[in-house]
């Protein structure tokens, strides 16, 4: 039997890898990829806690579904922003998009 901690550690690993991607990638699309990884790790957590808790309480799965919806919304808006920025400034490098500095 797989203990709960394995799932949680898998989730933590996925989260940290995603975090690494978010923090280090220069390409804005790649940053969003990292965000997806982090969201997935959260979903793994939710599903795991659902399975290892009281399975008749559907909260874990319900929240996972809602995270799906949020992820879809986030990607749609995020990529739309990236494309819009690309049209205006001809770049998707996050470091170059720094108009909001002093």
């Amino acid at each position: 039997m797989v203990p709960l901690s394995w799932y949680l550690i898998l989730s933590a690993g996925l989260f940290s890898i995603g975090l690494f991607g978010v923090l280090t990638r220069r390409n804005a699309v790649a940053i969003l990829l990292g965000v997806e990884l982090m969201l997935n790790s959260v979903n793994v957590n939710l599903a795991a806690f659902w399975r290892y808790g009281d399975v008749t309480q559907m909260a874990g799965q319900v929240f996972a579904i809602i995270v799906f919806a949020v992820a879809a919304a986030e990607v749609a808006v995020g990529l739309a922003l990236v494309i819009s920025v690309y049209r205006k400034r001809n770049t998707v490098i996050a470091d170059d998009i720094d108009l909001m500095k002093w």
Partner: protein, 169 residues
């Protein structure tokens, strides 16, 4: 070590490995495809957790829509076909440090928690997870409100995305 554990370890390794490729590979299309692999791995993890519905929805939504969208976005935002230059900025070591720190912190928290080692109880016989999930999502006593809010969020995102990405000329 049981068969289940072996399967889990294989899936986890594949998942983490492809996730690592997502954040490190230079070619962004490859990164997106590696993301597909990762998402597939996560779908299998859901299946291992007896959350069949989540697994299928993971494939439909993430692979069928989100990954495709990423590939489109990558293709639409490239000046030439090749990815050139470094894909990480010069402060990448700080990010790596932070990621490692957060992994260690989270692992420490998980391992330090007594409840983390417990095993899953067997599913009740005749347990219909999909039916229960459907009930929970649409029952006024459960989660119909968050569900509806999520739908409104999706609609807003749809409209917003079209508005933001629309080419006004």
């Amino acid at each position: 070590m049981t068969a289940e554990q072996i399967v889990f370890l294989i899936v986890a390794l594949v998942t983490l490995g492809s996730a690592f490729m997502v954040v490190t590979t230079r070619n962004l299309i490859h990164a997106a495809l590696w993301l597909v692999a990762t998402l597939f791995g996560v779908a299998v993890v859901y299946a291992l957790l007896n959350a069949g519905f989540l697994a299928v929805v993971q494939v439909v939504v993430y692979i069928g829509a989100i990954a495709i969208l990423f590939i489109f976005a990558v293709m639409l935002t490239r000046k030439d076909a090749r990815d050139s230059g470094p894909q990480t900025h010069k402060n990448w070591w700080v990010g790596a440090l932070l990621a490692v720190a957060s992994y260690l912190g989270l692992s420490a928290l998980v391992l330090g928690w007594s409840g983390s080692s417990k095993a899953a109880a067997g599913l009740p016989s005749g347990f219909d997870a999909v039916g229960q999930l459907g009930e929970a999502l649409t029952s006024p006593n459960a989660y119909v409100l968050p569900f509806e809010v999520a739908s409104v969020l999706l609609l807003a995102a749809l409209v917003g995305a079209v508005y933001v990405a629309f080419n006004r000329k």
